[in-house]
Amino acid sequence: MKKILIIGATSSIAESVARLYAKQGDEIYLLARNQGRLDKIVNDLRVRGAADVHSAVFDVCDFDAHVSILDDVFDRLGEVDVVLLAHGTLPDQSLCENSAESALSEIKVNALSSVSLLTHLANKMEYVGKGTIAVITSVAGDRGRKSNYVYGAAKAMLSAFLEGMRHRLFSKGVVVLDIRPGFVDTPMTKDFAKGVLWAKPEKVAEGIVRAISTKKSVVYLPFFWAGIMGVVRNLPRFIFLRTSL
């Protein structure tokens, strides 16, 4: 039985991941900001076979609560095998272009909150000397694009942060996983028209659980996004600037 902590646990992708661990009979601790939805998920995971499920209401932007909430989690679970950070928001890009305040607030939810959480988590996991820290970033972090560079910048910051943390924890037995999904059909993207590139959260969740169990460092989900982003990253700038990406 593994012990799993999920932050942003009401995320559709995170919930699909939790269901897979529940089915394996693992013990799960959920943090999210909506009590009602959290309660439903706790119940559901118990029915699906989780050994035990705990939860607490938590807003990732409440920085003052970070230390105490993580202390509670580790007190309860003891050694944690997997931590998954899944919270995130999709900014209104044009709003951010006209309001530095909005841009900063998006950076706060999508990057700074995780920087704080990961700093505490890294120390706790380093102490234990095993386990995996997995963070959902995005393919959007691979290159800033006019359609959503505030989001992209936050995710890129996280990816660089994770790269360094991985380097630091490598010799300490802690694996750091950077998960970069492409388009996923979730509440976050409900207003987008869906096409062939879109994946279901259940599918992405399978990829996440697989990447965690095989101790991967960086994973694109579904796999073909590695190729797509390879092309996007390597587009010569004079061409890139003329695209509508």
Partner: protein, 433 residues
């Protein structure tokens, strides 16, 4: 977004909402104002029953509430699919008490259409095993069952989403010794023999007949009658996920009269013996088409209609022959034609089944087919039968009112709960509900 039912006719522009919790539903109802709302599950109903100005998708309302493994009682949110319920309950030795011919439907959809399975003749509809429902009506969220808000319960089961959005459902499951079925297939020569074999095997848990409805004359109604019993053999194995998919619309000529005739004959002649036995997994037995995702695309971009009617037992062979002959003559044929025996009618206001025989067939959409079905409606109504709302995209208000005599009671109840102002589908508007 452009939205249709499984038959891909009609399409309408609809605004899709995905409530994340019960509270969201209440807010959406308040926000909707005069615009019509309707619940939507997996869109496996064929016609326009899950279409409206705004569709409330139950996709994210998919949580198990509890599962009592000792007594086989399960409660879950309405968007939970039968597929995921099976995955949970099979390993514990339980099965769905009633299941339609696809596992890709939601519990909410199964209640709203009060679906039936191959065991209707003995066990009745899905609602027979529903203990309780949590429903969001415009007048508030209420729990309803046979003991509590009973009239709302009888209206909601089979009520096509027109009493409000179903939030949670509690169902009783069926104990099974394994996940396999002892299946017997009997080849019959004509309609009389088909009906006779179905009646002779009334005590068989599951029964259904696949009719070759393109054969005329003395072979009219020749069939493969399929019977089934749960068996002890094989253990408790959950099915595999569907692999095959039809990604594109098939060209129109794919399902013309000739190819269909070839299909139906091949199916029939594949059976060399009159009677054969096999132990089969529940997946191919109950869900033969689920292995091919999006098979509705086989009918091309133009869409298709499924016509399912029931006629009372008294009308029997005479009524079925009249309709089958009319169909054969039209050469408009069918990819699937399924004949089943129904047990007695329940007391829900709009549930479809009544004691007798039901036939379901697919027809590629065309103007001639639409007028053919109007003609068939007349015959069905004349024999005292009715047409299934979960499959319907075209029935007239007059035919509906004649064949669903409790519609007035249903309308009255809708008014009582404030549902008539908010919950309306393209279908309910057409039917004058």
């Amino acid at each position: 977004m452009r939205l249709s039912g499984w038959g891909r006719y009609p399409y309408i522009d609809s605004h899709a909402e995905y409530p994340l919790c019960d509270g969201d539903v209440q807010k959406l109802v308040e926000l909707a104002g005069e615009q019509s709302l309707i619940g939507r599950g997996l869109g496996r109903s064929y016609g326009d029953s899950a279409l409206a100005h705004t569709t409330l998708h139950s996709l994210y309302l998919d949580h198990f509430r509890f599962f009592d493994k000792k007594i086989g009682l399960l409660r879950c949110s309405s968007g939970t699919t039968l597929a995921s319920i099976l995955e949970l309950i099979i390993p514990e030795g339980w099965f769905l008490s009633v299941t339609p011919g696809t596992k890709f439907v939601t519990v909410g959809g199964a209640v709203a259409s009060d679906v039936h399975g191959k065991n209707h003749h003995l066990d009745g509809c899905f609602s027979e095993f529903v203990e309780s429902i949590k429903l969001a009506t415009p007048n508030g969220v209420v729990e309803c069952s046979r003991n509590q808000n009973a009239s709302l319960f009888y209206a909601t089961c089979g009520g096509m989403g027109l009493t409000g959005l179903i939030l949670e459902v509690e169902i009783r499951l069926k104990r099974v010794p394994s996940s396999f079925i002892d299946a017997t297939t009997i080849k019959t020569k004509n309609l009389e023999e088909t009906v006779e074999i179905l009646e002779e095997n009334h005590s068989s848990t599951y029964s259904v007949a696949w009719i070759d409805c393109l054969t005329t004359g003395s072979g009219l109604g020749r069939s493969l009658v399929m019977l089934g019993e749960h068996t002890k053999e094989g253990g408790l194995v959950v099915g595999k996920k569907a692999k095959l998919s039809v990604p594109f619309d098939m060209p129109d000529f794919f399902l013309n009269g000739l190819t269909m005739q070839a299909f139906n004959s091949a199916y029939y002649h594949r059976m060399t013996k009159v009677r054969s036995h096999a132990i089969v997994h529940y997946e191919p037995y109950f869900y033969p088409l689920d292995g091919i995702l999006n098979w509705n695309r086989l009918y091309g971009a133009g869409g298709f209609l499924q016509y399912q009617f029931v006629i009372p037992k008294e009308a029997g062979i005479e009524g079925l022959s009249a309709i089958l002959s009319r169909l054969s003559a039209s050469k408009k044929g069918s990819f699937l034609a399924v004949l089943k025996m129904f047990g007695t009618e329940n007391c829900n206001h709009l549930s479809f089944p009544l004691g007798g025989y039901t036939l379901a067939l697919d027809l590629k959409l065309s103007r001639e087919v639409l007028s053919l079905l109007d003609e068939l409606d007349e015959i069905v109504v004349a024999y005292g039968g009715r047409v299934y709302l979960a499959k319907d995209a075209r029935m007239s208000k007059e035919v509906f009112r004649k064949s669903y005599p409790r519609w007035e009671k249903f309308s009255e109840l809708r008014r009582q709960w404030g549902a008539h102002k908010h919950f309306n589908s393209t279908q309910s508007q057409r039917l004058g509900l």
